[in-house]
Symmetry: C2
Subunit: 116 residues, 2 copies
């Protein structure tokens, strides 16, 4: 799965990973701190963080033997832009529905004919 948009959406498709993102939005944290609330192993959380990192959602620095995890918010824009684009397009189309219906030739004109 090469493209970054797929990686970001896929990364956020998991509830645990979304929760990690939510907590990182408040403050940076280490792997152990992040793993504490969940009843899965630290290794599992480490894997989740790798997924988030590959998606560009988090970055890890080095601090002695600790690896503080930091949320990178820029990637969100990628998603937002994609979403907004098609939502706007769909809503636009919705808004013009009346006009389209009026112009449709194979439907009986609701009011006066206005045959083009």
């Amino acid at each position: 799965m090469a493209d970054s948009l797929s990686r970001v959406f896929s990364a956020l498709a998991d509830p645990t990973r979304r929760d990690i993102v939510a907590r990182l939005a408040v403050a940076d944290a280490t792997v152990n701190e992040l793993a504490a609330p969940y009843d899965v192993t630290v290794q599992a959380v480490s894997k989740h963080l790798k997924v988030l990192e590959d998606a560009g959602l988090v970055s890890r620095s080095r601090e002695a033997q600790r690896r503080p995890v930091h949320l990178e918010a820029e990637v969100f824009d990628l998603m937002t832009k994609w979403i907004e684009r098609y939502r706007r397009q769909a809503e636009e189309r919705y808004r013009r529905l009346d006009d389209v219906l009026r112009e449709m030739p194979d439907v009986a004109p609701p009011q006066e004919g206005t045959t083009s």
Copy 2:
């Protein structure tokens, strides 16, 4: 995977499904029309549509033996709200970084006992 946010993100994690959404933003289409550009079987596209439908992203009506697929844009709000919430939170934190650094007493004095 019960929650709807997971379903929506997961649905959009696939490039083919995102492309389907993009095309449905322009106009409704039938399964066969949607399947045409891809070199996968119609069944595979039908499965994709089921995923999109379960996520609430599309709806299908009945029209003789055809099943026109329609994009439902409202669900996008769910994602947008989630994303915006944490992006804003993260940016807020970023903006206050200077203050935080200024308030930090240089380096914490080496106290006994591991913190946490």
